[in-house]
Amino acid sequence: MTDEKRSVIELDHVRKQYGDFVAVHDANFSIANGEFFAMLGPSGCGKTTTLKMIAGFEQPTSGRVLLDGDDVSAVPPYRRNVNTVFQQYALFPHMTVFDNVAFGPRSAKKLDEARIKKDVMEMLEVVRLDKFAHRKPSQLSGGQQQRVALARALVNFPSALLLDEPLAALDLKLREAMQIELKRIQREVGISFVFVTHDQGEAITMSDRIAVMSEGQVEQIGTPEQIYRSPASLFVAGFIGSANLLPATVESNSGQQLHVRTTGGALLNVPQGDATFSVGDRVCVMLRPERLQPAQTITTAGSGVEGTLTDLVYQGATARLIVRQHDDTELSALVDATSLPHWVRTGETMCLVWPNDCPYVLAGWPERAGATTTNVDHVEAAL
């Protein structure tokens, strides 16, 4: 495909305000053709509002929404070449599966009924529901209804498919199956998927790129790996995966390396990263739990901390260690449970050490020092 990098959706400094409340501050990004793009954030971060502005259900207060290069900011939803999969699917309950899927093509009035029938049945085959064409939505399971909603949107061959928390209504097992199914369907049809979710695991496993949002701001846009390895803000660091956040102050700067003293008193060597810091700056050292290793002593100065093991939780192949430092901040480490040394015992003093490239420095101090509470292990497993 030559137009692989052509952008399908562009948000040009889009802002949405309800009275005094700013739902979206300044969304300014574009989504490429064929891309699987996630908008990720906690509820109320403005991700659904942004999606609705792309679909046309909301108009931006200022800024422009462009579809295929055309400004559609004032164009009603029924004239926009994007389709939505709604959170609760919004299938028409009085129509059969076939009529639901045929609703879009019939509204467009461009094709004759025979062609519509062929398209609809083909799309039902893609989502593997061709045998259910004459059922009513109420006679289908949640997962099947979801696939009807997908087929109903995709049969119109939109420039982009918008999905609003599409998996939230499914139970865990089905959700995991649908994640794979969604990826398969997206590859098959080659259309951009824009996907709104509050589930970071979902965003990371499925997306090509993620926009992390918080309180109406786009905090960071990047590949799942970029966002995980080098979060742009403390919010992103805490929201994606689990992290240990140590507040510290810069003591010296050698260009490549920073020497920082944590509030717990430990002197750490950390790589400078993309940002530049000067002596006296308040910074936060982020350590991912799966990169920490238990040790009896700190062999490389500045690459470890000492504390007391307060908790040891076996999780099958892995084990989670909670180490409390002298200043009461807790670090969490995710280690291989099969090769756990005998001296790792609850109540004993031990060290946690890490390789040189593990720490990542962010500006500012976190609200809460230590391990973030989001202990979502499958994110670490996915990367």
């Binding site: 259900f57 009603p76 939803p77 029924y78 028409f92 609703f103 509204s107 009513k136 006679q139």
Partner: protein, 275 residues
């Protein structure tokens, strides 16, 4: 001991429920019963003997038949008008609250709580003060629409309370313009509520006496005719025509119920066939 008490309690409840039903249906039973009576004299109020004559010749009282025909035409027209307006009001009020929607809510309840005598007389004053329409068929239709609209709007609104408005968004999203969305998505889904409201409006209209009395002029509806005739005679044909209206409405209910069951049965059949 306990089970005996609860059994007595349950029996008592059944007896009371039965008495309640008897209380409700006794008058209707007598209307039907006396349509088979062969009265002596002008008043059909004392049981004499069984006859089918009245049913074999229900339209013998030409003025009564004419009045029924007038009533049916008035009620049908008023019901169509009020159902359209009332349903649109209900849709507007349910979709979102807008400036003035609370005022409209208040205005809707007003005709239900105002005594009919006030509605009737004030409307008559209004009609008297203008020269565009004379009292008659039109004024009765206008009067009926006035109070029916409230009933329709409130009934439809109650029935569509749980309506999922994202369905309209979904239709728009799939390229349907507003009219197509209404025609193929919104309307079919609210239709049962609209029909229920129309039936109620029709029933209220066809038996209205007070408001009609004030605004009918020389037009004579079925209730007005019975009221007028009752002073000189009560022919059994009144009971026959009333019973016909009754059986007609029961038939409507039964058809509705049977169709509902049939479509359930068809669904069940299709389900088992798919398996």
């Amino acid at each position: 001991m306990n089970s005996l008490r609860s059994r007595i309690g349950r029996m008592g409840l059944n007896v009371f429920a039965g008495l309640g039903l008897v209380y409700l249906f006794m008058p209707i039973f007598f209307i039907v019963l006396f349509s088979f009576n062969k009265p002596k004299g002008n008043y059909n109020i004392v049981w004499q003997e069984f006859t089918l004559d009245n049913w074999l010749d229900p339209f013998s009282q030409s003025s009564l038949t004419a009045a029924l025909w007038v009533s049916l035409r008035i009620s049908a027209l008023a019901t169509v008008i009020s159902t359209i307006f009332g349903s649109l009001i209900a849709l507007a009020l349910s979709r979102r609250s807008f400036k003035g929607s609370s005022v409209i809510n208040l205005l809707l309840v007003l005709p239900l709580t105002t005594p009919e005598i006030v509605l009737g007389s004030s409307l008559a004053t209004l009609f008297l003060s203008q020269t565009f329409v004379d009292f008659g068929f039109i004024t009765v239709v206008i009067a009926h629409v006035m109070f029916q609209v409230s009933f329709v709007a409130l009934t439809v609104r109650a029935r569509i309370r749980g309506f999922d408005w994202t369905l309209e968004q979904a239709a728009a999203d799939l390229g349907a313009k507003p009219w197509r969305t209404f025609r193929y998505v919104t309307f079919p889904l609210i239709l049962p509520g609209v029909l229920a409201a129309a039936l109620l409006a029709f029933a209220l209209s066809i038996d209205d006496f007070i408001i009609t009395f004030f605004n009918a002029g020389s037009t004579v509806t079925f209730p007005l005719q019975i009221y007028g005739a009752a002073r000189v005679r009560i022919p059994p044909q009144i009971n026959v025509l009333a019973s016909m209206v009754l059986f007609f409405s029961i038939a409507l209910l039964v058809i509705g119920a049977v169709r509902g069951q049939r479509s359930e049965a068809v669904k069940a059949m299709k389900r088992s066939k798919n398996k």
